[in-house]
């Protein structure tokens, strides 16, 4: 009873009612249920989309936003991709350049982390393989 009084006097300190909690949980769970994609699939999709975009523009990965939005009964994937600068034609023509190899290595590291967390080991090998392939191609600029 005292807790009720307290929460009435200071409404901003009232913790989420279970009703609020269940609505929140349902919204989240249904967003994913409806598009029939596992969180790891969504993650993978995001990484690949990022790869493609990064070929054309340099992306500000810190303020990158990917989310699922729910309207009525459809779910949309919404991507907010801040662009730092556009890559020059030279960068775009040489996909195995120094910049993209590093980027690929970062991606692999992220992917590994993600997949070990989720335990899907099989896919890790595939990605490692493609990263190795790219890294073994001769790069135009030398690394010291």
């Amino acid at each position: 009873m005292l807790a009720e009084l307290f929460s009435k006097l200071f409404p901003q300190w009232r913790h989420d009612s279970s009703r609020d909690t269940v609505k929140r949980r349902l919204h989240l769970v249904l967003k994913h249920d409806r598009i029939d994609l596992t969180p790891s699939m969504v993650e993978q999709m995001q990484q690949e989309i990022l790869n493609v975009i990064s070929r054309y523009v340099e992306v500000d990965t810190d303020s990158l936003e990917f989310s699922l939005a729910n309207t009525q009964r459809t779910t949309s994937l919404v991507a907010n991709v801040p662009i730092r600068r556009v890559r020059s034609d030279l960068e775009r023509e040489e996909p195995s350049g120094e910049g993209s190899a590093q980027f690929l290595e970062e991606l692999v590291a992220n992917e590994l982390e993600q997949r070990t967390r989720e335990g899907s080991v099989a896919q890790v090998e595939v990605i490692e393989e493609s990263a190795n392939l790219d890294a073994s191609r001769p790069s135009p600029s030398s690394e010291s």
């Binding site: 009703r19 609020d20 009525q72």
Partner: protein, 267 residues
Amino acid sequence: MARFIVITSGKGGVGKTTCTANLGMALAKRGRRVAVVDADFGLRNLDLLLGLENRIVYTAVEVLSGQCRLEQALVKDKRHSNLALLPAAQNRTKDAVTPEQMRKLVSALGQSHDYVLIDSPAGIEMGFQNAISGAKEALIVTTPEISAVRDADRVVGLLEANNIRKIDLVVNRIRPAMVKANDMMSVSDVQEILAVPLLGIIPDDERVIVSTNKGEPLVLSETPSLAGTAYDNIARRLEGEKVPLMDLTANNSLISRLRKLFSTKIG
């Protein structure tokens, strides 16, 4: 032109069979010819809810195998003879029938009835597929609880994928006091999430258990009940009548009951 309505939910135990029994009976009370079909092969319960369990001779399986005619399997209710039950086989499983067979049965029933209500089993496997195969409309029954709503959502998706577009929602076992205390989702919370038009609300009512015990659908009770009235209202809405949703927050105290008694028109 008969109406073929499947009553389904995904989640078990939310009130599909209770709904089918009471809606079927409510429509029959209003003079409609109603056939209720128990599609829960192996775990039949519609017969119990209607109190017709001792009168089953043949089931849908015997009709399909040609052992008897459809009319022989239909159990006519003694209280309202325009309500008939097509029982499910108890000693089989959900694979005892195919969707095509169900479609034929349901369609045949539509020749001599105004409403064919199909009581779907829980789940989304063969039993569910069978139940929806003959239907043109669906009623989704859910309770305001997380698992039920999640399952209902999946089922709505499956119904749409199977080309059943007329889908209506029934929210069952709502507890207004808990909703007020923010311990339960409200009907509009559920309806917003599922984004399916609302057909009716049924409050949690102990009298449902009593009616099940006796095998007497609540809509037949001499003394009105909240849940019984709710089922009657849904039947009226199915018939096209505009019935406002019951005010469940109304106090059920002695004073307010007396007040209602004096303000109710007789005849």
